[in-house]
């Protein structure tokens, strides 16, 4: 399977200049890719375009030759940097997980989630604990491609390794595509098979 972006150009409605210009990108599930760019260079915007959050861009994004589906479960899922923003504050964690899929006990164990956390509210968990939920939630069996937008930036080194290890294991098991977005060069060098610099593909 491949996620292909062709001639993507985008500018925010209030901005005068383009943020992204004629970006071409081809991703597949054979290689784990890393996307590197400076702050404000448009990494997150590109991720949102690739995963279908932003739709008013020029160019096309195709997944396996098809445009991204408008309805139903989206095969390309994005993991945010801030997990607390993507959780309803009045939901228990169990409900948060079940919104996506019925998570198995093995996956809970794999991601180091304790059973007692399931009955808590998002405010009652730490950032690292929440991110485990956020990641596990996006690993729905129907997810074909995972984009991690600075997924572990806010976490300490140990938690980073734990979460990334679990994600990579699942990604390899299920033969999913994975794009790691970061500005941490060392992290990308360690994890990814290949890396892309946004400034190289952005013809601005």
């Amino acid at each position: 399977m491949e996620l292909k972006a062709e001639n993507i150009s985008f500018k925010y409605p209030s901005a005068k200049e383009y943020l992204l210009k004629d970006v071409n990108l081809e991703l597949d599930n054979n290689k784990i890719m890393g996307l590197i760019g400076d702050s404000g260079s448009g990494k997150s915007t590109l991720c949102k375009i690739l995963s279908g959050y932003v739709t008013n861009f020029e160019g096309s994004v195709t997944f396996d030759g098809q445009p991204l589906p408008k309805k139903g479960f989206k095969p390309v899922q994005l993991i945010y940097q801030h997990p607390e923003k993507v959780m309803n504050p009045k939901w228990k964690m169990k409900q948060v997980l079940e919104e996506s899929w019925d998570v198995t006990d093995e996956s809970l164990k794999e991601f180091g989630i304790q059973k007692s956390w399931l009955t808590r509210f998002p405010q009652e968990l730490s950032g690292g604990e929440l991110q485990r939920f956020s990641v596990l939630r996006s690993l729905n069996p129907d997810t074909k491609f995972l984009i991690a937008d600075e997924m572990t930036t806010m976490l300490d080194a140990i938690t980073q390794v734990q979460i990334l290890d679990s994600v990579l294991k699942t990604v390899k098991e299920r033969n999913m595509g994975f794009l790691l977005v970061s500005h941490d060069m060392d992290l990308v060098d360690t994890i990814c098979d290949d890396k892309i610099y946004l400034k190289d593909i952005n013809k601005i």
């Binding site: 995963s51 279908g52 959050y53 309805k71 139903g72 479960f73 989206k74 899922q77 994005l78 945010y80 923003k85 993507v86 959780m87 309803n88 504050p89 009045k90 939901w91 919104e99 996506s100 729905n140």
Partner: protein, 283 residues
């Protein structure tokens, strides 16, 4: 110092939550007692008895008697019960209107501006005037007053709900929910409703005092309930004629009772708000 001396005041040993619960419990209890006791008063209990007309308050007649010898305490209680019933009808109806309007506004931006326009329209007309107009237009009586109050008091709640729904709709978790393939209806039911239900409950209770006050004032002005009904507004407007002759109890006690009733609703509403929405307790 604090621990060395045992406090004999039970209130000082309670925490804020217990105090809040106690306040809600007491005010609701009094309100329920008023409504229940008013239901047990038949019109035969408020008969005229010219042997005891214009009697000042005594232990036999707590609120005194009027110029036809009717016991004012019974009349006041019956009137308060009626007020609460009308208030309940008006509050629930106006909440329903507010919810419908807020939902309508969240469909698309044209309906949203129509709704904002409607809110501004209703807010630009003085309440009491609009209530009188609607009440007369619908033939007066309890039905007219209920409708009048309901159609003028939905605006505040509708505004709050509209803002809340807008905020929730643009939140990341709703966007993510869409990415998981959930329908608009599913999102409305599971994401939006649990977050706005607090506002709906508190909003409904806080319309009560307004509804009761407006019902009484419209009736006092003669546009509301018909004169044979024992409404507080009727009692107050009738007492005006006898104030000059020194029958002060005819206006004082029913007026005070109405004030206490309204205050009780307000206290209950504010405390329930504190309980359901703890962040507002610091305001």
């Amino acid at each position: 110092m604090v621990n060395s001396k045992k406090s004999y005041n039970p209130l000082s040993r309670m925490n804020l939550r217990q105090k809040t619960l106690l306040t809600i419990g007491l005010s609701v209890l009094i309100l329920v007692l008023v409504v229940i006791s008013s239901l047990f008063i038949n019109s035969s209990d408020i008969t005229t008895n010219f042997k005891i007309m214009n009697q000042p308050p005594s232990f036999e007649h707590l609120f005194g008697t009027d110029w036809m010898g009717r016991d004012m305490f019974t009349r006041t209680l019956k009137g308060l019960g009626l007020s609460v019933q009308i208030g309940a009808g008006a509050s629930i109806l106006s909440s329903i209107i507010a919810i419908a309007m807020a939902l309508m506004g969240s469909i698309n931006k044209y309906l949203d501006s129509l709704m904002s326009w409607l809110i501004d329209l209703f807010l630009s007309i003085p309440h009491i005037l609009l209530i009188i107009l609607i009440s007369i237009g619908l033939g007066g009586g309890a039905f007219g007053v209920t409708m009048g109050v309901a159609f003028t008091h939905w605006t505040t709640l509708a505004r709050v709900l509209r803002a809340d729904i807008k905020q929730i709709n643009t939140s990341d978790y709703v966007k993510l929910s869409e990415r998981f393939g959930k329908s608009r209806l599913w999102i409305a039911r599971h994401h939006i409703l649990p977050l706005i239900v607090t506002q709906i409950i508190v909003g409904t209770i806080l319309i009560f005092p307004h509804a009761i006050m407006h019902e009484a004032s419209v009736t006092f002005l003669g546009f509301g309930l018909s004169p044979h009904e024992p409404a507080i507004g009727i009692i107050l407007s009738e007492s005006m004629k006898y104030l000059a002759t020194g029958d002060w109890w005819l206006a004082l006690f029913p007026g005070l009772a109405l004030l206490i009733l309204v205050l009780l609703f307000d206290i209950a509403g504010e405390n329930i708000k504190k309980l359901l929405d703890p962040t507002s307790a610091n305001e």
